[in-house]
Amino acid sequence: MGYIAARGGTQAILNAELLVEYMRLHAASDPIGIDQIRDQMRAAVGRAMNEGALYAPNLAALALKQSEGDSIDASFLLRAYRSTLQRVMPTIPARGVDIRCQRRISASFKDIPGGQMLGPSTDYQIRMLNTLLMHESTADVQRILKEYDALIAQHADTDERAGYFPKVVDYMRAEQMVPFVRDDEGAEPFDITRTALTFPCSRSARLQSLAQADTGCLLTYAYSSVRGYGDAHPTLAELRFGALAIAVTHPLTGEPVCIGEIVVTECEIVSKAHSVAHNQERPYFQLGYGFTFGHSEVKAMSMGILDSVLSQAKRNGLSGESGPAANEEFVLLHSDGIEASGFTAHYKLPHYVTFEADLKVLERAVDHVESDALNPHAAHATTAKERL
């Protein structure tokens, strides 16, 4: 008697992992340092932290290195790591007005209290490849840092309130352009990591979902709602980027204790309101809110636009009639990059059983058509009525 053939699944997986490492290193260039990724690839680090829903610049840099720069894979690594972490305590709610801004702009008014501050931005940069970066030296780095120091010395601002600004949206509230009331007034925030999201959902659940959603997906939905598949007319009330202090309540003294600062982007969108006929309440602009870790302006704005579109739809008792981006369930259930990529990729898994079952159904369908074709009265017999 012979042997039953062995199947080598385990060894194949281990070999595949070694091959990935080889592909990353086969050119034998210098390994990238985590600090280089963290400091010089801020956008990628910010995106990984946002979608991984974990503020951890070092780990995000590590995840980017491990995933060879794949943003979805990097955020997946962070998200999976996060789920093993213990919840120590909630922070005291942080307020956008407490962001120490490095950048702060509004598109609603030319002049705003505190003034516009362009800050670090590539918005007005001519998008030509900077070939000088091909061979950047430490001397180049020193020169730029010196240039920056000199500029800062000229504009030294010793005011400890420097960088703090009032919020444009607070002015809009005072003028009754946007309402004071919160949609979830007084409610405990929903926690999407501890409770399954069901619909209709609260605004806090929506904002949490959007905050960890895939940037490209939010951009697409937001864009669709302003381009033609929707009726959004957003105006940027304010966009700010800077450092935000995070505090917790001391478990013994009950006093707030600052535990550090995080770098964030915050955005408020106001959108022209359309009320439906039976809705006779005072007209106001619909507010939308966007918030991200790191410097991620496109994501913060996309989130703000979608929040306003979804609030508007909910207020009018509609869901998706004006376009897919106004359907809350559709947007929230399809925008998580980790879920979407995981499921799309799962089609690489063996489907031998389901394919065999599909094949059997196909065979039956073919038999059905051929038996009809062979029938001399096929022309008449093909109506279902006569088959029955």
Binding site: H278, Q280, E281, T383, A384, K385, L388
Partner: protein
């Protein structure tokens, strides 16, 4: 003829309001104020304290302009919206049946009651039909929900209903998108009749149809009513339609029933100023 024991539907104090209401609602809404919405608290009083009784084999008309509350009343009876207050009692037209309050039914019982005992025909066919399914599939839905599990027998029943509603039975498997407006109303009627309902609801069924098509659909409804002694509730803004079908009529305005009685009497001797206006402009 209308023996007291043979009522099918008895509605009392039926009220639907959107909003919380305020102390000044009562003095500022209703037909006397020309609005169903309170100017102080914005509450909409879509249907206020409606009451009527519908007898076996009778057709009751509900007439009023848009916003009068007639469609709200229809939706309440069709159990698609929940009333703020009031009761809807239903009774099978048999000797020993017991009446049940539809308002207090749980969702599960309500769904199955609605499928089995009510039939509805909407103004817009896409509300009553699933345009992705075949004509036969649409007519079959109520039967399937009522546990019919033999395709051959289901199709016999669909064919029977199509003949009854003057639809060509050979088109049983056709796509409803290939049907005309008048034919789609017949498909809705066939579907509504499939469960032998105790009550048929007709919501502006001929609005939007050409006059000749309208006449044929009304003829069909009249024939079904005559042959099956079907109890019907008919909502229309068109007094002509009401006059042809309904023996008794309710007139609604701004959420209130302002007048009710025999249709002939209302048309010949309207009492309420609004009814007088309606009759004079229609005839």
């Amino acid at each position: 003829m209308t023996d007291v024991a043979s009522w099918v539907l008895n509605v009392t104090g039926l009220t639907k309001r959107y909003g919380l209401g305020c102390p000044r609602c009562a003095e500022s809404t209703g037909p006397d104020h020309g609005s169903s919405q309170c100017p102080f608290c914005q509450t909409v009083h879509a249907c206020v304290n409606a009451g009527f009784t519908l007898y076996q084999g009778e057709v009751l008309g509900i007439v009023g302009e848009s916003g009068s509350g007639k469609s709200t009343l229809m939706q309440l009876i069709n159990l698609t919206i929940n009333p703020t207050a009031g009761e809807i009692w239903y009774r099978e037209p048999t000797q020993d049946s017991t009446a049940m309050n539809l308002v207090t039914m749980d969702g599960f019982t309500r769904r199955h009651f609605r499928n089995d005992r009510l039939g509805i025909v909407h103004q817009r066919p896409e509300l009553g039909l699933n345009m992705r399914f075949s004509v036969g599939g649409n007519v079959a839905e109520k039967l399937l929900l009522a546990n019919w599990r033999h395709i051959g027998r289901i199709r016999e029943r669909i064919t029977e209903l199509m003949i009854q509603t003057e639809l060509p039975p050979e088109r049983i498997d056709d796509d409803p998108n290939t049907f005309s407006g008048g034919m789609l109303q017949r498909v809705q009627i066939a579907k509504a009749l499939s469960s032998n309902p105790g009550l048929l609801l007709l919501d502006e069924v001929t609005s939007g149809l050409d006059l000749s098509v309208q006449a044929r659909v009304l003829d069909l409804i009249r024939r079904i009513q005559w042959e099956q002694k079907m109890t019907m509730l008919l909502v229309s803004h068109d007094l002509g339609v009401i006059k042809q079908l309904a023996r008794r009529t309710i007139v609604m305005k701004n959420g209130f029933i302002v007048e009710s009685g025999l249709t002939d009497q209302i048309l010949e001797d309207p009492q309420h100023p609004y009814t007088q206006l309606l009759v004079s402009s229609a005839l």
